[in-house]
């Protein structure tokens, strides 16, 4: 185990940020912490990077305790906080140089590790970090976090506010880093990024809802899930909410995702019910649940 977390709790004044969190990350694993803003992701990251001390529980990184052995952890991990903490008034190259220097290394010494990423921003190396696009900032921040060849990489919401193209490129880079043997803990509010991790923890309100592989989590979805469409979205939702057999109903893009209280729902009866309420162009078809469906199902309890 590269990272272990056992019964960690943390409160700020009256607000509980983390409640009795436990999980472990294997060496070389790409582990995702998936949850909305305020779920406690950043607090957990700060505890693991020794920036905060937990109220209760024990956590270790590379075998070092996060409270008593914090100096050893600070020497060995790479950390990319949310909001890409860079020096906005320094150029791309100056930022990277600075972070290399404070970790007692140079860009040249570890260039092979950051090369993949850095070549993409190298054409702009004399541009100030503040003038970069979100995607380029993100790549620079990752380069800075990697420059000292850390064993463990902590990435707190690295893709928030970044356009889809850069997000995709970013995840490709993470896969390549993982192949080089790095352990990566990454957090994201985007449910669609969960599938790119080896294992994920779904987290909300400071509690872990489930930990597993993304595949296993969607396979554990307890009920058959249906895509339903009709001519009027609002009427469709309100009608389904009033239907006696409804277990859950959530708008989902151009569809409504519906689950029934019964194990084998009666599609014809449901269709009749909706028609009766004046809806037309009704389609009901079975669909595969996504991580987001699983998250909502788990969060509902």
């Amino acid at each position: 185990m590269e990272i272990t977390v056992a019964n960690i709790s943390k409160s700020y004044n009256t607000v509980t940020a983390l409640k009795d969190i436990s999980f472990g990350v294997e060496t070389g694993e790409l582990f995702g912490l998936i949850g909305p803003d305020g779920a406690g992701k950043t607090t957990l990251f700060r505890i693991l990077t020794t920036l905060l001390t937990p109220d209760n529980g024990v956590a270790t990184v590379s075998g070092f305790d996060v409270v008593t052995n914090y100096k050893a952890i600070r020497n060995s991990v790479g950390y990319m906080p949310g909001r890409f903490s860079l020096y906005q008034d320094l150029t791309v190259e100056e930022n990277l140089n600075f972070f290399a220097t404070i970790f007692g290394t140079t860009i040249d010494a570890n260039y092979d590790l950051v090369k993949d990423i850095y070549v993409q921003i190298e054409p702009f190396k004399n541009r100030r970090a503040g003038k970069l696009s979100g995607g380029m900032k993100q790549k620079l921040a990752l380069s800075c976090a990697l420059i000292h060849k850390p064993k463990v990489l902590f990435l707190d919401e690295p893709t928030t506010g970044v356009d889809p193209v850069s997000r995709k490129e970013f995840w490709d880079m993470l896969k390549r880093l993982q192949n080089k043997g790095m352990t990566i803990l990454v957090s994201t509010p985007y449910m669609d990024e969960a599938a790119l991790c080896d294992r994920i923890a779904l987290i909300q309100d400071g509690r872990i809802l489930e930990i597993n592989t993304p595949k296993a989590i969607t396979e554990h979805f307890p009920k058959p899930l249906y895509n339903i469409r009709a001519n009027n979205m609002y009427l469709l939702i309100t009608s389904l909410q009033k239907y006696q057999h409804t277990h859950s109903v959530f708008p989902f893009g151009e569809y409504v995702h519906y689950t029934d209280k019964r194990n084998t729902p009666d599609k014809t009866a449901l269709s009749q019910y909706l028609k009766h309420l004046g809806l037309t162009e009704i389609t009901i078809e079975k669909t595969k649940p996504t991580i987001e469906d699983s998250f909502m199902e788990l969060a509902k309890k």
Binding site: G35, P36, D37, G38, A39, S133, G134, T160, G161, D163, P164, V165, K168, P189, M191, D192, Q204, N232, M233, Y234, L235, I237, F250, P251, F252, G253, E254, E292, F295, M296, A299, K300
Partner: protein, 242 residues
Amino acid sequence: MKTDYVIQAENLTKLFGDFAAVNRISFHVKAGEIFGFLGANGAGKTTAMKMLIGISTPSSGRATVAGFDVYKETEAIKKNIGYMSQKFALYDDLTVKENISFYGGIYGLSKKAVKEKSHKLIEELNLQAVSNSLVGGLPLGWKQKLAFSVALLHDPKIVFLDEPTGGVDPITRRQFWEMIYKAAHKGTTIFVTTHYMDEAEYCDRVSIMVNGKIEALDTPKRLKAHYKTDTMNEVFLKLARG
């Protein structure tokens, strides 16, 4: 121009020096439609929206919002639209009730109207218990729902939403979209700018801006069929890569 369009833009352009932040965009939005206005950061979404809500004068082109001209009738536009952004929506240091009456006051609602609407709104959102608490202490999801309701307070013809649901949990997000559907159902036009592609899937029609131009404009379903993909995210990836 036909009158059942609540937003009409013809060759709308905004130049900053030589740089065309918005480059001759044309589109129409129907009454009661949920129109998604997508693009990456820096594609020109915000600049375009600022022209439509009357706080930035276009360099050239024509546009009307709620029937009013964006050059000459900006005051009339402002009275007929609602606006909500993720960054700024409500005052954290005012209570729920104070925020509602403040916005009611801005739009010239009578005291009585504000009182009635505020009562109704608090009931609909189930905020009775916190109606006298400071907004700053409320969960993000509640704030967003409240902000949206406040933007609708003066019964505007069009509501502009600027990246409204970033970061909220999936269930709250759905409740938010239910509210949007409800408003649209009642005839309010919804104009959503966002760079979250999954938010696009909820819209009736979407336009995608790349480098100041509208590169695609259709229903999500047809766009996905045209680009032969399953998600709007991939549509966007294909467009952005050219």
